[in-house]
């Protein structure tokens, strides 16, 4: 499976990473190379094998659904590039 320039452009957009038009051919070539490397997996017979979801067979820990933390908005906002009046500020989203 090889990735063409249109697919590379689409993947970059899905990943929300801006890639200049001039850089797309090289990117497509590198992504294709990596995918070719992955094609080896097609040689393996995985019939009847369940996908591995956890390393140790154990039930994921459960806890009561209750508030155990919070009430420090100033700490949450401390590292924001733009915070105003207790909120994260971003460019206008809705017209």
């Amino acid at each position: 499976m090889s990735i063409d320039i249109d697919t590379a452009r689409k993947v970059a957009h899905l990943a929300r990473i801006r890639v200049a038009e001039d850089d797309l051919p090289k990117l497509a070539e590198q992504l294709s190379g990596i995918l070719t490397f992955m094609e080896q997996l097609n040689e393996v017979d995985v019939e009847g094998i369940e996908p591995m979801t956890s390393v140790t067979p154990m039930r994921l820990k459960r806890r009561v659904d209750e508030v155990t933390d919070g009430s420090y908005p100033e700490k949450i906002l401390a590292n924001a590039p733009d915070a105003r009046e207790g909120f994260f500020a971003v460019p206008k989203v809705v017209e």
Binding site: H13, I17, R18, I34, F37, E39, L41, K61, P81
Partner: protein, 492 residues
């Protein structure tokens, strides 16, 4: 001998006996760090915090309440969140980020009285095998045998270089595909990746959550046992961190491995393996046999598929984990032009903030998770992963106690030598280590010898799940038999 050259075990004993103070020990490390900027290992130095913690440790030792790590100066990989101290995962996208909280691992260390010297550089978001993807520029290996500067390996390259050059007594590392064990091998030190779930991941910047695990990087096997005992804990903040009690790993170091069965997997004997690595491997097996272990040839038939499976699963998880870096809550935000909206902000921020290797992996991950490819790539890789784990399960069920393999396919290579290589060529560095992460097992890299160039080479021991104590004991036997005492000659 300068105090910074001590092992953790020796420093612990010296502190307890009152031979020196933690402040003296810490000052010795701080002055070694000041003289080692050429190695570029520390990306943030925290001498004020260090001296304050050292004073507190001295008071605690004087009071008779001193856990093993009390007063021991450490370096911390930049992937761990440390409260109020820059924690950047060596990425531009986290520029200026100072966490409001402390990772569980570092909190455990500070609670035990350990001392933080600073943060250690690494490959960006732990993606790399040479430390060349760090936004701070590459770390340089203290080992040098000609005019070339060598890589310390990666991703925990700053940790490895700092321990090897005595810029700390031990360091924290993290290992997703070999990021503790490969740099440990490249710098002649010990590094252990514990069983997945032994150490909390809370507060460690996530790369691939089903593979990431933190561990110690130290000058000796005993030090690794001591430090792991403090790093490991039960933690309600990480649902994958197990509730098993943390054993006394140091007490497991009996030096007796008689009757243990050590497996030698034939699939690790790769075509084109350097003769020196092959010889090292045979020598290591002979050392364990001489100590009374039984050497058994075994087969792990799906080994060949570990790397391609890893390079589907790890980028898939990374693309999801790294979605949080969007310029809203922390770190870098791109400057926007007139009329640019929120999607422009995301795309420009991530293009400016992520380096090329991180961008590639995020995009590969996005691709393999996208509609139409999820089953063909991601689910297939997870099924192959189940087979890789089953290979190990069957070997352990057949009575194998541990598995001996090379740690890396070569010794340290020169910085810049892989610059024009295909990304996949760099991935081959992980060929012996990545299976261990996929199967969730503990693995340790032990320095065993020098190659003809005079560079360190390591062997890897892979243990049973939750069997770190036995694994460290087997590693101790290998360490003793190999008698590796070489240190890099100071040139920096």
């Amino acid at each position: 001998m300068s105090l910074n050259k001590l092992t953790i075990a020796a420093a612990r004993d010296g502190l307890k006996a009152g031979e020196f103070t933690s402040v003296e020990l810490t000052e010795s490390c701080l002055s070694a760090i000041e003289g080692a900027d050429a190695l570029n290992a520390y990306c943030a130095k925290t001498p004020e915090i260090a001296l304050e913690q050292a004073k507190a440790a001295d008071a605690r030792i004087a009071g008779g309440d001193a856990p093993a790590m009390c007063g021991i100066p450490l370096g911390i990989k930049d992937l761990f969140c440390t409260k109020g101290v820059a924690s950047q995962a060596a990425s531009r996208i986290l520029e200026g980020f100072k966490p409001e909280y402390e990772s569980t691992v570092t909190q455990n260390l500070w609670d035990a009285g350990a001392v933080m010297l600073g943060k250690l550089s690494m490959d960006e978001f732990a993606m790399g095998s040479s430390n060349e993807t760090a936004c701070y520029g590459p770390v340089v290996n203290p080992w040098k045998v000609d005019d070339r500067q060598l890589t310390p390996g990666g991703s925990s390259g700053g940790s490895a270089a700092a321990v090897a050059a005595d810029l700390c007594l031990g360091a924290t590392g993290t290992d997703t595909g070999g990021s503790i064990r490969q740099p440990a091998a490249f710098t002649g030190i010990v590094g252990i990746k514990p069983t997945y779930g032994r150490v909390s991941r809370w507060g460690v910047v996530a790369f691939a959550s089903s593979l990431d695990q933190a561990g110690p990087m130290t000058k000796s096997v005993r030090d690794a046992a001591i430090m792991l005992g403090t790093m490991a804990s039960n933690d309600a903040k990480d649902s994958t961190c197990v509730d098993f009690p943390v054993p006394d790993f140091e007490a497991a170091l009996t030096g007796d491995i008689r009757g243990k069965k050590i497996g030698i997997p034939k699939e690790y004997r790769m075509d084109g393996m350097p003769a020196e690595i092959e010889k090292l491997w045979n020598d290591g097996a002979a050392m364990l046999r001489d100590a009374g272990a039984e050497i058994v040839d075994i087969s792990l038939p799906h080994t060949k598929y570990a790397l391609p499976a890893y390079y589907v699963i790890a980028p898939a998880e990374a693309s999801s984990n790294l979605a949080r870096y969007d310029g809203v809550r922390y770190g870098h935000r791109a400057h926007l032009g007139a009329g640019e909206g929120i999607v422009d902000m995301y795309e420009k921020t991530r293009a400016e903030g992520f380096g090329p290797e991180v961008q590639r992996r995020v995009m590969i991950g996005t691709y393999v998770l996208s509609a139409g490819f999820y089953d063909a790539y991601y689910n297939r890789a997870r099924r192959v992963r189940a087979l890789i784990k089953r290979d190990f399960d069957l070997a352990f069920e057949a009575g194998i106690d541990a598995i001996l393999t090379p740690a890396t396919p070569s010794s340290a290579f020169g910085l810049g030598e892989m610059k024009d290589a295909d990304p996949v060529e760099m991935y081959l560095n992980d060929v012996f280590t990545v299976t261990v992460n996929l199967a969730g097992l503990p693995g340790i890299s032990v320095p065993v010898g020098l190659d003809a160039k005079g560079l360190p080479m390591g062997l890897q021991l892979i243990g049973r799940p939750w069997g770190e104590g036995d694994l460290l004991n087997q590693a101790l036997v290998l360490e003793k038999a190999a008698g590796f005492t070489a240190k890099p000659e100071k040139w920096w």
